[in-house]
Every structure is written in C-alpha cells, then in structure tokens.
Symmetry: C2
Subunit: 297 residues, 2 copies
C-alpha cells in the first residue's frame, strides 16, 4: 500500500471513531452536540491522531487501544481552535473553509461547545480506560502526558503568550517557547502517548520525540509561510492575519528565505532520527513529515 492511500484510510478511520465518540443527539442535548460536531467533523487534516496511529503501527501496538486517546487529542485540538477563533482571541470568521463556531452559533454556545469538547476528551479516555483496564498504568501515563500537554504548562500556556504578544514584537526565544507550547505540545503528546500505550523502549521514545519536536516546530514555520504565500481558497481561511494582528513570526524574525531553510532542515532532522532507529519501518513517518513540508493548507 502506498503512503497516501494509508493516510486516507487512517483519516477515514479517525473520522468514523470521532463520529461514534461524539454522536448526534436528540433534544435537550441536541444543540450542544450539533455545535461540537460542527467543528469536530469539519474535515481537518487529522494530523495528530494519524501520528498516533502511525506510531502504533511502527511499534506493533493495538490500533483499537490507541484510537480513543488519539481521538481525545483531536477533540482537544478542535476545542482550542473554537476558542482561539473567538472575537476576544484571534477573531477569525473562517476556519477550514467554513464559518467559525461563534459566527454560526453565537459566542456563548461557541464557548460552551469548546468546553464540552475538552471535557468530552477526558470523558472518552477515562471511560475507555475504566472499561478496558488491561495495561492500566500505561493508559493512565498516556492520559497524564495528554493532560499536561493541553494544560497551562502546555498548549494553553502557549496561547496565553500568543495573546499577550499581539501588537508588540517578541524575542526569538519567546516565539519558540510559544510555539513549543501552543502547537508543539499536542503534536508531541500524539506521538508520546501512543508510544507509551504501545510499550515503547527508551531509545524508541527518544527517536520519536526528536521527530515530533522537529515536525512540531516545522509545522508552525510552515503556517507562518502559508499566512503570507498561501492560497486562501486552498487554506480555507484568509491570509495575512499575522500581519493584521502585528504578530511576530518566523518570517518577521528571520525573513522568508531563512525560514524556508529552517523548515527544510527541521524536516530532514526529524526523518533522520526515525530512520536511524527504525530503518524502513519509519517509511510512513518520513512520508508524513514530507507531506507537512509541502502542504498547502
């Protein structure tokens, strides 16, 4: 099977699992589930859960056991986008080619839909762990990794720095801290939680963390590039929002040429790390890193 095919199959399986974890409901819960599903089922890249599945396959783990945690990560990622798009934050009208949650449901329901997705992520993991207690210590450790990554010392911490950095220039060190938290933490958690669930050895985890840290930062640099050079139609959102919000980005700090070089170097290092450890078994992770490098949305 070629990698693109595998990617499509995994995205399909993630979508199917998400659809089951957050189903349509009848009244009185109908409206909140509709708002949760509007954002969750909007067809994102599913990079994070696909990363978890790729690590699981690489380590000969059980896809069925990894899926609930992978889907929880996607729920957390989606809630963060809903809150990030709010007028009080980035004030974005479009996301993935559709109106943002608060534009469709109003601000109050958008806040609650985000809250509900975050809560549901933990509900999903906890209930699955309770009902499937085999390997319970690894499952709790995986949940701990995810909870730390999404919290005040991880993703939310990054968003706070991001919010505080609008309209003023920040230093390279703070920009890297912000991205390591805001985007990097959950990408890293996708890889690390799956590795823990699949009982990875220490050397495996080291190679996988080098990979995820590198593609996490590369992902953010690519986002900064796309906000200038991207095609709004393919992106599904307007470009130039960093400039409008006077944000410091890799481009404003290092320029476009150096940013593209960093992007290529980080991607190459990510691939080297997993190829050195897993040889040809790292094929899909290599494909994924290159796909993220070349992506247009």
């Amino acid at each position: 099977m070629d990698f693109k095919n595998k990617m499509n199959i995994w995205v399909g399986e993630v979508n199917k699992a998400l659809d089951a974890f957050v189903p349509e409901k009848s009244s009185p819960e109908a409206n909140i589930y509709r708002a949760m599903r509007y954002s969750l089922m909007a067809g994102g890249k599913r990079m994070r859960p696909v990363l978890s599945l790729a690590v699981c396959e690489l380590l000969d783990g059980s896809m069925e056991e990894v899926m609930p945690y992978a889907c929880a990560i996607e729920m957390i990622h989606t809630y963060s986008l809903i809150h990030d798009d709010l007028p009080a934050m980035d004030n974005d009208d479009y996301r993935r080619g559709r109106l943002t949650s608060h534009k469709v449901f109003g601000e109050g329901i958008a806040v609650l839909a985000g809250d509900a997705l975050l809560n549901h992520a933990f509900e999903t993991m906890i209930n699955y762990t309770y009902s499937n207690p085999g390997g319970i210590t690894a499952k709790l450790k995986a949940m701990s990794v995810i909870a730390t990554a999404s919290g005040a010392n991880g993703m939310i911490g990054g968003q706070v720095v991001d919010l505080e950095s609008e309209d003023r220039e920040i230093q390279a060190e703070i920009l890297r801290y912000m991205h390591r938290c805001k985007t990097g933490a959950m990408i890293n958690a996708s890889v690390l939680s799956a590795a823990i669930l699949c009982k990875a050895e220490k050397k495996d985890i080291e190679a996988l963390e080098t990979y995820s840290n590198n593609i996490g930062l590369a992902f953010q640099i690519k986002d900064d590039i796309l906000d200038i050079e991207g095609n709004p139609e393919k992106l599904g959102k307007n470009i130039g929002s960093d400039i409008d919000n006077k944000k410091t980005t890799f481009i404003t700090l290092y320029g476009m040429e150096a940013s593209k070089r960093m992007l290529a170097e980080l991607t190459a290092e990510a691939i080297d790390a997993v190829e050195a450890r897993f040889a040809e078994k790292a094929g899909f992770l290599k494909y994924l890193a290159e796909y993220l490098l070349k992506r247009e949305n």
Copy 2:
C-alpha cells in the same frame, strides 16, 4: 466538635489543598496561573468539596485519597463560573464580592483561565491516580462520574439550556432539567464520587443520592430566592439579574411562598434520607443541608 467548627476546618483544608494544586508560578506561566488563582482562591463556600469530605468521614474513608477529586470538582465549578460570567453569557461584573475574571484580565485570558482550570482538574485527578494506584478501579469510576457530570450531558448541557432560555418563558419540566444539570450534576458528583472512593454499599449510595439530588434542587431554589430577597453586600453580587435577563425561575413559575415551601420540603427529605440510613452519623450532612437552607450568600 460542633459542626460549624468542623465546616471551617474542612474549608481551610480544601483551601490549602487547592493552593498546593494550583500554585503561584514564575514567568512565562505566571499570568495564566495568576488568573486561575484569582477566581479559584476567591473564597467560595467550597460546598462541593466539603460535601465530598463529609461523605468520606461518614463512610470512614481516607480524606487524603478523596481530597484531589474533591479539589478537582471545585476547579471545574470555578471554571464554569468564569465562563458563565462572560459578556457572551450572563455578563456579570461581580462575583463573590470581586470583579469577575474578564473585568480584571480581559475576555481572552478569562476564557483561557477557565479552560486551564477545567484541564487542571483532570490533570490533578489523573496524576494522583497514576501516582497512587491503590483501588485504581474505584478511582477511575469516580473520575468517570465527575467527567460525565461536568460534560455535555451534565453541567454544560444545563448551561446551554440556560443560555437558550433567556428572554423567553420555559416550562417547569425544562427548568427542572436545566437545574438538575447545571447545579445538581456537580453537587451529586461530589457526593457520589466520594462514596465510590470510600467503597460505599448500594444502600449507602441510594440514601446519599436522595440527599444530594434534594439539596441540589434546594440550592437552586434558594439562589432564585436570594436573587430577589438577598442582600447584595452579603451576596457579593448584584441582585435582580434573573429579572434583568427575563429568566424563568422557581419564583416566576410558582411564586415566592410556594418556592419557600418547596425549599423546606426538599431539605427535610434530604435529611430524612441520610438519617434513616446513617442515624447520628449523618449529623454533619444534616447541619450542611440546614446551613444551605438558611444561607445568605
């Protein structure tokens, strides 16, 4: 020891534990922790964690083991207040006698501080369970009860109905559903999670659930009464907000006199249930129900 004394001691212990679970931090996490602590350490009644501790004592459980879950419930309760006070929701300027979070930190940080407290609640429970795996099945079951109570089918579901009910009259059935979810679910979870952690028998749980369901609804009726007859200084917030928001309450549906009668009846039934099962050991729960009946804030 008299009950009032015991209450004060437990509130003090809860505050100490919360202070340790959500400590002050230095930069770059300083600001988000400051916003989390501003609302969390604002001196609420701590009714929910105190309920957990009371159930724990009643069942001869370990206070140390119950505390992390009790504190997590208080973190969830606090986050719900921060988001509930936002301009897009109830738009309240004061809470517990102090400016609301968004008035002090701005709306963006208030949204993130709420998110961070919800996340931290799960982080706290998961990390404690991982580090203290004795009785792990009961701990996961307690977490599951809490996660379900705070989610789209519990507290958040109630807030959605509340938000959708502004400016229009709703039926008694929907009002009860709303309160059972919005306030009742987490009060019930405080009692039920502690009972599970302390390995309660089925008959214990039945008596405790009758108690918590009754005081949950009584609590809301009392809130509706205080919004009309309360003293703004003692309440720490303005009164009349239900009328301003044209909300259906127990008072608009049944009138003041009948509401007060319902409040007294629900409290009496709550006390009867636990006295019938636990006799004099239910003393503190009786005191707490009467305290909630007579409270002025």
